[in-house]
Symmetry: C2
Subunit: 249 residues, 2 copies
């Protein structure tokens, strides 16, 4: 990995056989893990990563994510993730990603929106006060639509799911990637055999905790477009997702 | 990573914040992913990895795994995984693992038993015919008890679980690590807050497929020892696990 400080950082991975999904490709959940990981690496490089922020009881929180892929790396394919900050204001930082093969084949892009919170009082921290942030904005095209605000989902028959040990992250909330796993698991293997996920979006709205039960809702908006929503047992919305499938050739 | 061909291969990882569990440590499931990954890397190095075997419709199959840990790497800890072949015969290869920090603190060990099968006719392939295998046996201590054969588990009230898309691996079976996740999810957060997993064992017995429902059984054998069993909807045993907890200080 190229770890030196750069406005646009690049990291290279291999897709190992044990990591592949049934379609012999990188699972979207693993791609999102890599998104979180490379965002963390890059932030660490200029002193605003987890290890620095946690000393002041602060943490980055992912608010929105949109991923658009024309294809996915397969088993043993190498893939490059480039990441850079597109812009920032007091409340949010916009970080983009480009996925390609090291020899230049483009897989897709992602856009993410982050805030920084004070863990104890749950208030937002002013990102513009971060040292060096103005020197760390990268300039690179990210030709996919911005994140949208996903509308409430109508579904009379949600799936009820008791939160499990493996859902929980170091902050005692549900792991951001686990929500995506639960959303993707609302679709059948046949759906994934016939289609790939062309665009995926998630809005993280509030936090679910161990001990609660979640309800998973799903709604079809068009032939190939679905939205989904996860609520806690009090009916509060935890997150909403939107999936656009595209037929495999 | 040190990738050159060696009888004892060593790989170094970092535990990223997004990878940690609620106890701020490496999840056992991620440790097993690393076990599978380093086994694959090492086998690739001498031409018996996935990429070579799959051309002849063959694959390594994990039969048994035992892990014993005195402690676990925490967030941002670096951890070294050493792996070597201890022995082999026609039907099985025994591969061991040692987990430590790069500066020499020992975390624990693992023992694994693998076979090679012909994917099409599901028959066992003679491992002794692999070129170079006799030159790739490593000599290093692995001071933990061998894998045991776990007995059938008695439980009147199994949890019923419909297999989901994210459970499935590239061979269209349930991912080996997902079984472990399901077994660990049979215990509460409180159990993991008060205890760590000192020893974990799993026997993989037969394969479960998408579309089936699984039953999860659990039995307490001693104050800190549990066994678990996963069966398919025909009542066939898919795998059995054994967990020995140890109180945290």
């Amino acid at each position: 990995m190229e770890n030196e400080q750069k406005k646009i950082a690049a990291y290279i991975y291999d897709l190992e056989p044990a990591e592949g999904n049934a379609q012999q490709e990188i699972p979207l959940t693993l791609l999102v893990k890599r998104i979180l990981e490379t965002a963390t690496y890059h932030a660490e490089n200029w002193g605003v990563g987890y290890s620095t922020l946690i000393k002041e009881n602060r943490a980055w929180v992912l608010a929105r994510l949109a991923i658009e892929m024309s294809s996915y790396p397969g088993i043993y394919d190498k893939y490059k993730i480039e990441t850079w900050i597109e812009s920032y204001n007091k409340h949010f930082s916009a970080r983009n990603f480009c996925f390609s093969s090291p020899d230049g084949k483009l897989y897709g892009y992602a856009r993410s929106i982050w805030s920084v919170i004070d863990i104890q009082n749950r208030t937002s921290v002013d990102i513009t006060t971060f040292r060096h942030i103005e020197n760390n904005v990268g300039e690179k095209d990210c030709p996919i639509a911005p994140q949208s605000k996903i509308k409430p989902v109508n579904d009379e028959n949600p799936i009820i799911y008791p939160i499990r040990y493996s859902d929980i992250d170091i902050n005692r909330h549900i792991n951001s990637v686990k929500y995506i796993e639960h959303i993707l698991d609302m679709f059948s293997m046949d759906m994934y055999d016939k289609n790939f996920i062309r665009r995926f979006e998630i809005n993280y709205i509030s936090e679910a905790r161990y001990g609660d039960k979640l309800s998973f809702y799903r709604e079809q908006l068009a032939e190939n477009i679905y939205t989904s929503e996860i609520r806690n047992s009090s009916g509060e919305t935890i997150c909403r997702g939107r999936i656009e499938f595209s037929k495999r050739n």
